[in-house]
């Protein structure tokens, strides 16, 4: 298979373009996604190529973007609703939680809501508290939603294609710092299955489960640990709902030691769910309590040194693993 290097933003764009070409019912709408091409360039050129019947700029109306997507999905289309910042999903939450997630259940399977709600989260760009949150656990808590958080261009493209083809409401969370990171993707058509984690690095001594921006940091930490003789396995769940418990538990049974790392605040984060799952299902394999490392219990601050300190660093991940391994 021939591979080529593209950015995460290009990966998203390719996925959207391929799926819009494949199925005319795929419809992208959101703030600045058309003429401007998306604030992170992920939708650049799509309006020119597909026209306003498939790509449309919307007013700043997050509730309407999400609600209209629900209505379109009920009518048999496959909308991709773009919410520019994850923080703005708060305004669309009624539609996501009360309508998109629940309609299939409330109407006992008589309808489906095949929509993707694309958004992006995370800190690191000096955007302050209202443009930098990691709210993925909110969505993962709601039955009926599929929640995806890719960390590489390969996963982003393959999972976006799967998300668009899936008949469930999917919350697809990108990361603002990853848009211009590069990675290899196949030249040919491929998809990545929803609900399957990926072992980003194999190792025997400790399992590090990391999401999104924490994945490259966990991999760097693992490199540093390797030189100290510690072999760390790094797992990216990629999909938070449904969670691929098997891949996680298999690694835990091998290593006996687990660190879960995410950018979202530790309290009530997805790490708590992953830790509880491990303790429920692989307690006997554990040599130590599952350790969690998340963002500090505060909103994301503006000032650069404060912002940097608000989420786990590579060094903090390395040190946490050392504490875990050395006991």
């Amino acid at each position: 298979m021939t591979m080529r290097e593209i950015t995460y933003a290009e990966a998203i764009r390719e996925a959207l373009a391929e799926e819009m070409a494949r199925d005319s019912r795929v419809f992208l709408m959101g703030e600045d996604v058309g003429v401007y091409g998306g604030v992170f360039t992920a939708t650049k050129g799509l309006l020119e190529r597909f026209g306003p019947n498939q790509v449309r700029d919307t007013p700043i109306s997050e509730a309407a973007i999400a609600g209209a997507a629900v209505g379109m999905a009920l009518m048999g289309m496959r909308p991709v609703a773009d919410i520019m910042y994850g923080d703005f999903t708060t305004i669309a939450m009624d539609q996501i939680v009360n309508n998109a997630a629940k309609m299939r259940y409330m109407f006992d399977g008589r309808v489906k809501v095949p929509m993707v709600l694309r958004t992006q989260g995370g800190s690191g760009r000096g955007n302050g508290a209202q443009h930098s949150q990691s709210l993925e656990a909110w969505f993962a808590h709601v039955p009926g939603l599929v929640v995806i958080q890719p960390s590489t261009p390969y996963d982003a493209k393959g999972l976006m294609k799967s998300a668009i083809r899936d008949d469930n409401p999917v919350v697809f969370i990108e990361h603002k710092l990853l848009y211009f990171s590069k990675g290899m993707v196949p030249d040919t058509e491929y998809t990545v299955p929803i609900g399957k984690a990926d072992v980003k690095r194999t190792g025997a001594d400790v399992t590090v489960i990391a999401t999104q921006w924490m994945v490259p940091r966990a991999l760097q930490a693992a490199e540093a640990l390797e030189s100290g003789g510690i072999s760390a396995e790094v797992i990216d769940p990629r999909t938070l709902r449904p969670l691929d418990e098997e891949t996680i538990l298999e690694s835990v049974r091998k290593s006996g030691k687990v660190l879960v790392v995410h950018e979202a605040v530790t309290f009530g984060g997805i790490g708590a769910e992953i830790a509880a799952t491990i303790m429920d299902k692989a307690f006997d394999s554990l040599d130590a309590p599952v350790m969690r490392l998340g963002g500090v219990d505060a909103p994301i601050p503006y000032s650069a040194p404060l912002e940097k300190a608000a989420v786990p660093s590579t060094d903090q991940i390395r040190d946490a693993v050392l504490r875990l391994v050395r006991g």
Binding site: R25, E62, Q95, N98, M106, D108, N168, T191
Partner: protein, 329 residues
Amino acid sequence: MGASLTKQQGQSLYEVMVRIREFEEQSIVIYGQGLTPGRVHPYIGEEAVAAGACAALGAADKIVSTHRGGGHLVARGADLHKVFAEFMGRATGYCSGKGGPMHFGIPELGLLCTNGIVGSGITVAAGAALAAQLERTGQVVMCFFGDGAANTGSFHEGLNLAAVWKVPAVFVCENNAYAETMPFERAFAIKDIAVRATGYGMPGVIVDGNDVEAVWKAATEAVTRARDGGGPSLIEAKTYRISGHFHGESPHYRSQEEIDAWKQKDPIERYGKQLIRDAACSQDELNKMREAAKEEMTRAIQLAQADPFPSLDTLATQVRLPLAWEVAP
């Protein structure tokens, strides 16, 4: 407006209204008997709106309704056995007992959803109408909501989006004078919700919501405009909720005199008199329709009451569809 009703159409409007009234009266009875696990939100007094507006739609058109959706369900021809069964939480209900009185989705009736969140259906309707426009289906989406919903952000975002994209939608605001217990005058600094249409760039009309023919005429005009590519409209049907927000509420927030005054404007009695005056119907025929509606409800309730509750095996089914690899061989 040249549209006028045939004798049969007039009778049919009356019949729908009495069926809604009987449906709601009986839903109160079964609530009182403890047959519904949750509360019911009757539509008594507002029947002319659902009957008149839905009569302007074709079978392929779609509607979006509210927590007070009984009138729209009856007007769209719902099987009342399945509606009562849903109210009672039975397996034979339209949503197998999972939805309940506030949460219906009935694709075969073109009912996209009723909604327990005030205003929440408005943006859904805008999107559904956009889909109809993009797919050139010729369908119109009619969205019902109350005066309370007109003060939500969804109203603003939904009407603006619908107008800016000129989608084939008809927004029917059932101004029944109360948002739950909040009187219109204390929630609005304007006299008419219809004036807000101007702010979105769509036609807005006020109609006597207790005059079924007037509602039908306004709705027909709006549906025709939507279908012809003229974009959305807002109809404010001024009516009155004779019933409480939910049955069994404390009534202290409004006076009995006010309720009695509105009872004098009962849309069903009023239209019955008109049909007799126009020689479209005899009193005897009207009585027969009322009796038939009563019998229909009694029968539907008897059937529903004999139906089983859902199996506990269904508790967590239909939460999400299987993923591609979960269904692959």
